[in-house]
Symmetry: C2
Subunit: 364 residues, 2 copies
């Protein structure tokens, strides 16, 4: 891997709500591997965001109360500098000449954003999946920058099982002849490899239990069966096919490779020599750790370990282990379980009658 630095990198971000006079109501969101900074709709961009039910006026992360910032990760391809960006030195995309990316780099990118907004201390930093690890890196690198840390379906370092799965996803992309050792043009992506990587992703983002309940052994209708001896026969195959098709064309392959590797490389123990020492450097006074019991990628034990490790320095730590069926993806889909917990943490006022009518209402 090549270590190096970037000349004038850009970090794209979006904001919602207003910074208050005391400048103490800002929340910074780091994303998972693939989303953009568009966490929720806004006046400037009315399209649905990737965390629409969670972020907005009257929602758990209430933009009528908080000033919310979401960054597109450095290394991604939605406005921030990444492998698909033009290298000013060559006038061509960086491709695999992009330097090794770490989650610490992404955290630094987030810190540059809040500094440029004139902020020195956040109400909280929050992230799910890769975003949770980045939020953790942020809290270690800038211990005074956030008073609270929220980690969702994440961990202090990924497991060898997750590394194995991601390593194979990267191999699928790299073995696609269209990848051309990373030197493809942006409109000729290694689509086949990306689709396969996405399928493996979809399998590991959900849970065997959910697949059983949702698909069972249902076959697709005969007219939908492909004229292919090993094509789509089962509903579960059709589901993966549809999701893979949706993903490709929206994400750059080299960006995927760099961000995926950055997740594997991150280890809190690199900050201080051990997991506990690394976690002792986290500056937040309060931490909320939420995990899902059916998560294959970030197993609940890792998240319990993270929560336990954060209980030093008189820090207040809340840990929730959710019995959701949706595995790693639960924070995007199982809103009924996640909303009350985040709402409680952010003192939202959702329980006022009628407040949630525009989103999916749920019983408290």
């Amino acid at each position: 891997m090549q270590h190096g630095s970037l000349k004038d990198p850009v970090v794209a971000y979006e904001t919602w709500g207003e910074l208050n006079f005391q400048k103490d109501n800002a929340i910074l969101i780091f994303t998972g591997l693939s989303p953009s900074a568009h966490a929720a709709s806004s006046d400037l961009d009315s399209s649905h965001g990737w965390w629409e039910p969670m972020v907005g006026p009257g929602r758990p992360i209430d933009t009528s109360k908080y000033f919310v910032i979401c960054v597109n990760s450095l290394g991604s391809c939605f406005g921030s500098t990444g492998p698909s960006s033009i290298d000013p030195a060559t006038d061509k995309p960086y491709g695999v000449n992009f330097p090794v990316l770490t989650l610490e780099d992404i955290a630094r990118g987030g810190h540059e954003v809040i500094s440029s907004l004139g902020l020195t201390q956040l109400h909280s930093v929050i992230g799910a999946s890769m975003g949770g690890m980045t939020a953790l890196a942020f809290s270690i690198l800038y211990p005074a920058a956030a008073k609270a840390l929220v980690s969702i379906s994440s961990s202090a370092r990924v497991s060898p099982y997750a590394i194995a799965l991601r390593s194979l996803q990267r191999e699928m992309i790299r073995s696609d002849p269209m990848w051309r050792e990373g030197d493809y043009s942006n409109d000729q992506q290694p689509v086949v490899g990306m689709q396969q990587a996405r399928k493996l992703g979809m399998i590991t983002y959900r849970s065997p239990e959910e697949f059983q309940k949702r698909f069972g052994r249902e076959f697709v209708s005969e007219e939908r069966q492909q004229n292919d001896i090993f094509g789509v026969d089962f509903e579960v195959e059709s589901y993966l096919e549809a999701h893979a098709a949706k993903f490709t064309g929206t994400f750059d392959a080299n960006c995927y490779l760099y961000l995926s590797r950055a997740m594997d490389l991150f280890d809190v123990a690199d900050h201080g020599g051990s997991l506990d020492q690394g976690l002792s450097r986290v500056g937040a006074d309060r931490a909320l750790v939420i995990g899902v019991e059916t998560d294959v990628l970030f197993p609940i034990d890792q998240q319990r370990e993270l929560a336990e490790g954060l209980k030093s320095n008189q820090r207040e730590v809340l840990f929730h282990s959710l019995p959701s069926l949706q595995g790693h993806d639960a924070f995007l889909v199982d809103m009924d379980r996640f909303r009350p917990i985040l709402c409680d943490f952010f003192n939202c006022t959702m329980n006022q009658p009628g407040q949630l009518k525009s989103v999916n209402p749920f019983p408290f």
Copy 2:
């Protein structure tokens, strides 16, 4: 998929031990997806078999007491007729012109073998993984042919999660340009696709817990690191690489595709309309079902379901749920847990002093 029939198919098998005068000591073994009929070493072939510690004189399946037969599955590539065999009609390998293969076909192949040996009733039929499903198919198709059924890390039908994983494995092979729509020559296999499919197999054959214990986050030594930006950094990646390299060159890609699909298609409910009705057709008087709690591919709940379903017709059913860390592969590696159970079922005499000195001895 093409339905059809084979002209003069061959089923390869090996035997150990002697048939007794009453002809009631024969055990038929069906294999998982990739093994040959060489379950154990013998005078004719002294090389180690795939179930060496389990089959032999003084071992749990005691060949000094039983006449043991193991068949290479129809559709495989170790002597039995399969997609890599020469189609007499064209003088070229069948390739994807091989008809759709089912586990029932493989069971029929096994039945042809025992008939040709002059056997009408077996002491038992036994199989692990795909072999367990084939043994089940055998017991349904030929209810009088085996007095006992042993199913290890198997099920009455696979889960949608397992279908999704296998579907993706097949896609990896089919998307390798060397696959050439199945029309490759035997010495120019789609090696890259096969290696990736094997890696995904290896990941799902073991368990996250075992990977954690075995590899943790160990990096390979610097001299073993490849000069490749996304190459092997972690021990777990090196392990998968080594296993994938060992596998390719030994197994035919089209055979893999057909056998893999046969597993997905099998459903006991196709024999009688429901799971329970299908299982009620099993003819064995005794059944032993063994499952492993960390098995991702054949989750323990499925095996409990199989054991429960077999408890009709006054059948004696034994069910063991093993806490082994080794997941689906445990029956090949965690001998200390499997030996005593099989030994007990087959009334072996392993607990005589000194009996096991030549194999790995273990405490009873």
